[in-house]
């Protein structure tokens, strides 16, 4: 909200207090933040009115002239000027030496073609008063000389842009801000002069007021004014409105706007002759009513709006914007002036739905002073009469609140002890009373002697007890907490001491909650990925339908009001985002250097968890959040070094990151199975199966659930995305993993390790190349249970002399019994069982 400092001074004389900047500081300290302070005279310093005494041709230049100008005092100055539109005797704007014009031009003494110019005669354009102008600006004849142009223009003002929080509706006007300053400084508040009208409830009027819904419109005041002459506004009014960024329309409309910025009450003037049926009604709209508004848009009502209507049509959208039909025009002579109170939530609903945020709706949404209507309308009437004449024909009102609305709000009981208990500071009773009184509250001391000399309450223990009646315009004051804030901001938040909170009992613990455990594990997992050499990335949770479709994915959760198509859907997998990161990283890579991109993300993905996205009760949304651990890699195994040693990351490097995490976090029961072996498995991993190369990927199994994949991007996807380099992808359902993890309160339990020697046996066998080494391992472990402690494939060889289609696999088996030394014969037996199993399962032969 913009406040003109000069205008503000009409209600409170701030000359003794300080300038606009000081006022800005004061307001900020009281909770009304200053966003901007603009000195309108800036750039006009040293620009003054001056008379051209003599104009002669520049001796050296045809197109220039020499002017002798006078600012009224001192010797005339010679100024070189390139314009032609002035003559001797004209009064012009002279930018003197040292002026720093609004357009950035600095005026210095200069020599132009041999003649000294002691300033510059300005055009409107140069003063940023017009976007285009011809010649220099000629001021009206008779303008006093030597006068600062800012004064002539009425620009000797400072405009403060305030951020008024939505609880302080009372500060949405010049008078309101003056009142706030008055309560802080004790300076006197001056009310503008006006003739108070006597409003008659449900009174007779040429335009009868009706209210059909008292919730929608609790109060409606109206005045009929006859014989009005609509015309341009006087200069002072135009200047005031322009200073705060409002455009002048005509004297009547300007008066209503002026009143809104003065008192904070939006009002409306209708051409009374356009009101059909001599009655104006505030009512709830019916569905589908149409009205053309002042901004020349036609709106259709939804049925929840408050409208002002006559017998035949809707005249305006109450609290938001008037209608075009009943607009005051140059020819209007009879006016109906409206000042009402509308339901804040209905106004907000209407202005939000129709996207019409206006100065009026802004104020009605926050609430107008319910007791201020008669004063505001009286003041408006006086103002219009002053500007446009006219005679009051009626002043009536309809109210659900009775004849007069109290100037006081409901009392709040307050005890000074509460200041200590709640704010942690002490304010004396006298000070408390002084502050509240200064804030226009009436303060009653509970227990204080009444006029008759008796006591109204319990005489003992009532010291410091107050009943505080806030003024009607302080809609935000209804609880003792509200009063505490008033006290705190009045004495200053800086007066509140710093203390350390005490514990009165053992606090409730959340560390064993699911959410706390989840978070701890997320943190540990992230550290594991960092340890494996991956950088954490955070992608927006949104994606576009198009990008997801590139991956053959879709999302079940759509944003109803997205910022753009790019951000329309909540992601169903983290991989599209990570792949996009990789592509962008590649795109800025030039030269022959291999770029290693290694990223991971651990965040939720979103899916429909119920029939629809809709709130069920207070806690359920219908959206499931499935956390995923996803990572991608491309480039070198290690940081670049000697060429001979630089190896490109392969499947085994990539898989290591996941296995590392599984081991270090104590995940039990997770198995990696060849892609082909998990074809028949289903689970959260199913939906990303198609992204992976069937020959170079594994499925992640948690029990019998397929929870993810780790492997090479599918060649089809790689081709369609035009990936420049091989790319490894992994995505695993985090929730599934987490369930199998050691909880953070659990720690690894010590397992005794015996001191008995183990026995090693190495086998070299020939198997079909279709046999995977894990099958060989699992088979051996099973066959020689429990003596075979470790089975490890340590060499794989294909090619001569191994026959085509066969692989030579070297396996080391370590036999161990923690409790005793093994007999040679036991090892032989176990080895034989292993060989038997291999033979049976894979037709494996020893080499």
């Amino acid at each position: 909200m913009k406040i003109s400092y000069r205008w503000l001074n009409e209600y409170i004389n701030l000359s003794s207090f300080g300038d606009a900047f000081k006022v800005g500081e004061l307001l900020t300290a009281r909770g009304i933040e200053i966003e901007d302070i603009q000195d309108l005279s800036k750039g006009f310093e040293k620009v003054v009115s001056a008379k051209i005494l003599e104009k002669t041709q520049h001796p050296q230049a045809d197109r220039l002239s020499l002017c002798q100008v006078s600012t009224g005092t001192g010797a005339p100055l010679e100024v070189v000027c390139g314009a032609q539109n002035m003559k001797a005797g004209d009064i012009v704007a002279l930018a003197q030496i040292g002026a720093d014009l609004p357009n950035g031009l600095k005026i210095v003494q200069s020599k132009i073609r041999g003649s000294t110019s002691n300033g510059m005669l300005c055009s409107l354009e140069e003063l940023c008063l017009a976007t285009e102008s011809e010649g220099i600006w000629i001021l009206p004849p008779g303008t006093e000389l030597g006068l600062p142009v800012s004064k002539i223009l009425g620009r000797e003002d400072v405009v403060l842009t305030l951020k008024v929080t939505s609880n302080r509706a009372d500060c949405l006007s010049h008078f309101g801000i003056a009142r706030e300053i008055a309560s802080a400084t004790g300076l006197a508040l001056k009310e503008p002069k006006y003739g108070p009208l006597k409003f008659v409830e449900n009174g007779q009027s040429p335009i009868q007021i009706g209210v059909n819904d008292s919730e929608a419109c609790p109060q409606f005041y109206g005045v009929v004014l006859d014989g009005v002459k609509v015309g341009p506004s006087p200069d002072w009014l135009i200047k005031k409105l322009e200073a705060i960024g409002s455009r002048s329309i005509n004297n009547v409309v300007d008066a209503t706007n002026f009143l809104m910025f003065e008192f904070g009450h939006p009002t409306h003037a209708y051409d009374a002759d356009r009101i059909v049926g001599a009655k104006i009604v505030a009512r709830l709209a019916e569905k589908g009513e149409k009205v053309r508004l002042l901004d020349d848009t036609e709106i259709e009502t939804a049925g929840t709006e408050v409208v002002i209507a006559d017998q035949t049509s809707v005249l305006g959208l109450a609290g938001v914007m008037g209608g075009g039909h009943s607009e005051v025009q140059a020819s209007s002579t009879r006016l109906f002036l409206e000042c009402a109170q509308f339901s804040p939530s209905l106004v907000r609903k209407a202005s939000s739905r129709l996207q019409k945020k206006t100065e009026a709706s802004h104020r009605f949404e926050r609430g107008v002073d319910p007791a201020g209507l008669p004063r505001a309308l009286s003041r408006l009437t006086s103002l219009i009469q002053e500007l446009a004449g006219g005679e009051v024909k009626s002043a009536t009102f309809v109210s659900s609140k009775g004849v007069t609305v109290g100037r006081e709000r409901k009392a709040i009981e307050f005890h000074s002890r509460y200041v200590t208990e709640f704010l942690g500071m002490t304010i004396s009773d006298v000070e408390i009373e002084r502050i509240f009184t200064g804030l226009d509250c009436r303060v009653e001391k509970i227990g204080a002697p009444t006029q008759s000399g008796t006591q109204s309450g319990n005489p003992s223990g009532t010291q410091g007890s107050f009943k505080v009646f806030p003024p009607s315009y302080r809609l935000d004051l209804s609880l003792r907490e509200d009063l505490a804030e008033e006290l705190a901001r009045s004495v200053g938040y800086d007066k509140i001491p710093s203390t350390v909170p005490a514990l009165t009992s053992i606090p409730t613990l959340f560390s064993e909650d699911e959410s706390a455990k989840k978070r701890d594990l997320v943190e540990s997992a992230k550290l594991q990925m960092v340890g494996a050499g991956y950088c954490e990335t955070v992608n927006l949770a949104f994606s576009s339908k198009k990008w997801l479709a590139e991956f053959g994915l879709s999302s079940e959760v759509k944003i109803l009001n997205p910022l753009s198509e790019e951000h329309e859907y909540l992601v169903s997998s983290l991989l599209p985002g990570l792949v996009q990161n990789v592509i962008e990283n590649w795109n800025h890579q030039f030269g022959s250097e291999v770029l290693s991109v290694r990223l991971f993300e651990l965040r939720p993905t979103f899916a429909l968890g119920a029939q629809a996205v809709a709130a069920v009760g207070e806690l359920e949304t219908g959206v499931a959040e499935n956390w995923k651990l996803s990572y991608v890699a491309s480039g070198l195994r290690n940081q670049p070094g000697l060429k001979a040693e630089d190896a490109v990351i392969d499947f085994y490097d990539f898989k290591a990151a996941f296995e590392r995490l599984v081991q270090n976090l104590g995940v039990r029961g997770v198995r990696l199975k060849a892609f082909q072996e998990v074809v028949s498995f289903e689970g959260p991993g199913s939906r990303i199966r198609h992204l992976f190369h069937p020959g170079q990927s594994v499925g992640v199994l948690a029990g019998r659930d397929l929870v993810g994949f780790i492997g090479m991007v599918h060649p089809k996807l790689s081709a369609s995305l035009k990936l420049r380099h091989p790319l490894w992808l992994a995505e695993v359902d985090w929730t599934a993993l987490r369930k199998l993890m050691r909880s953070p309160v659990e720690v690894a339990q010590y397992q005794p390790y015996g001191s008995f020697p183990s026995v090693e046996r190495d086998f070299a066998l020939l198997v079909s190349s279709s046999v995977q080494s894990d099958q060989v391992v699992q088979s051996a472990l099973k066959a020689a249970k429990p003596l075979a402690k470790t089975v490890r494939v340590f060499d794989i060889y294909k090619g001569k002399p191994v026959p085509e289609g066969m692989t030579s696999v070297a396996v080391r088996v370590i036999f161990l019994d923690e409790a005793r030394s093994l007999e040679e014969s036991e090892v032989e037996q176990a080895s034989a069982k292993i060989l038997q199993a291999w033979k049976k399962e894979f037709n494996a032969e020893l080499r």
Binding site: L423, S498, L619, N638
Partner: protein
């Protein structure tokens, strides 16, 4: 030639041979040649029998001396040769130690995560527990329950993404505080970190960003306790000389409400003024805070007359940008390795 003369001759011969020996093997040969069982010196002593009894001890002593001298010469040469051999070996074993290390890739936590951890660490010292909640929230918990009813102007403060009837992407983590209060009784001290969403996208706003909110509910919690807590936090995070400043403000879930500024920790680096971070004001706005509005206790099912509490919230990206000197919020969400690697 007498035996003595012979001994002397052999000795000088052996010593000079030892001194000029070309290697350890040659040296060994010399040892065998002179000192071995059948070596020259031993041979000479075989003629001892023909010497007179008076001469014998003299010859014996001279022979021992000669042996010792030869042995010393052999040993000295051996040490010398071994030293040479070691030097040669070391020379051949020299590698280029300045070649790049075989370095694994370094990973890094995102600055948002690191900042969150830092903040949690500070507040943990005061006994706060961490709780988290869903990013998709009911409108009820995100708004109504924290005293922002429908059609209330305070909703303008937070442009909201809607997903369905009554379902939003949470605009703040206050809903998590409400979930915490509804799930457990007071006294409560919780921190709620997490991603939040608002329909805003420009140089200083991202539609997704991160917040951390804190809540302390107990008997007689005072606004001065809030101030003390935040002062501690500011000093821990930005240094012990940091000051805080509270300014009145309005957030529907607190009353009284405050904006909290910290004294600019960067001004020290720009003593001549013109600090770019605080734009010369000396203060950085980093927090919103206040005393929990009684409406929230009511919504949580707490008996509001018994208790009071404070709450605060801050933007994690804002703190991260300050701490790491990141000039543009959008850098955080690009997944650019050049950015991410810097925070290893």
């Amino acid at each position: 030639m007498s035996i003595l003369e012979k001994l002397i001759q052999l000795e000088s011969e052996a010593v000079s041979k030892a001194e000029s020996a070309s290697g350890l093997e040659a040296l060994d040969q010399i040892r065998i040649q002179y000192l071995g069982k059948k070596g020259s010196l031993s041979e000479v002593l075989k003629g001892l029998g023909s010497a007179s009894p008076e001469e014998r001890p003299k010859i014996g002593a001279a022979a021992n001396l000669a042996k010792a001298k030869v042995e010393a010469a052999l040993e000295a040469k051996k040490v010398k040769l071994e030293g040479l051999a070691l030097e040669q070996r070391l020379a051949t074993e020299q590698i280029d130690t300045t070649v790049l290390a075989r370095q694994a890739h370094l990973g890094a936590l995102h600055p948002i995560t690191q900042t969150t951890q830092k903040l949690i660490k500070v507040f943990s010292r005061l006994g706060f527990d961490v709780v988290t909640g869903p990013e998709v929230e009911t409108e009820f918990l995100n708004f109504e329950a924290v005293n922002i009813p429908a059609d209330h102007p305070a909703r303008d403060m937070q442009d909201t993404f809607f997903l369905g009837p009554g379902v939003v992407l949470r605009t703040h983590t206050s809903a998590v505080q409400m979930r915490a209060m509804r799930s457990k009784s007071w006294p409560i001290r919780v921190l709620c970190p997490g991603a939040v969403f608002r329909c805003d996208d420009d140089a200083t706003h991202s539609p997704m960003f991160h917040q951390i909110e804190g809540l302390w509910v107990d008997r007689q919690v005072r606004m001065s306790d809030l101030k003390g807590t935040l002062e501690f936090f500011a000093k821990e995070l930005f240094g012990s000389s940091t000051q805080i400043r509270l300014r009145p403000s309005y957030f529907p879930f607190v009353e009284p409400g405050a904006e909290v500024d910290v004294s600019c920790p960067f001004c020290k680096k720009n003593p001549k003024g013109g600090c770019k971070v605080c734009k010369g004001s000396g203060w950085l706005e980093i927090l919103g805070a206040g005393m929990v509005h009684p409406k929230l206790f009511q919504m949580a099912g707490y008996e509001a007359t018994e208790i009071s509490g404070f709450a605060f919230g801050l933007g994690i990206e804002r703190i991260a940008m300050l701490m790491y000197g990141i000039p543009d919020l959008r850098l955080m969400f690009r997944g650019d390795m050049r950015f991410l690697k810097q925070f290893a």
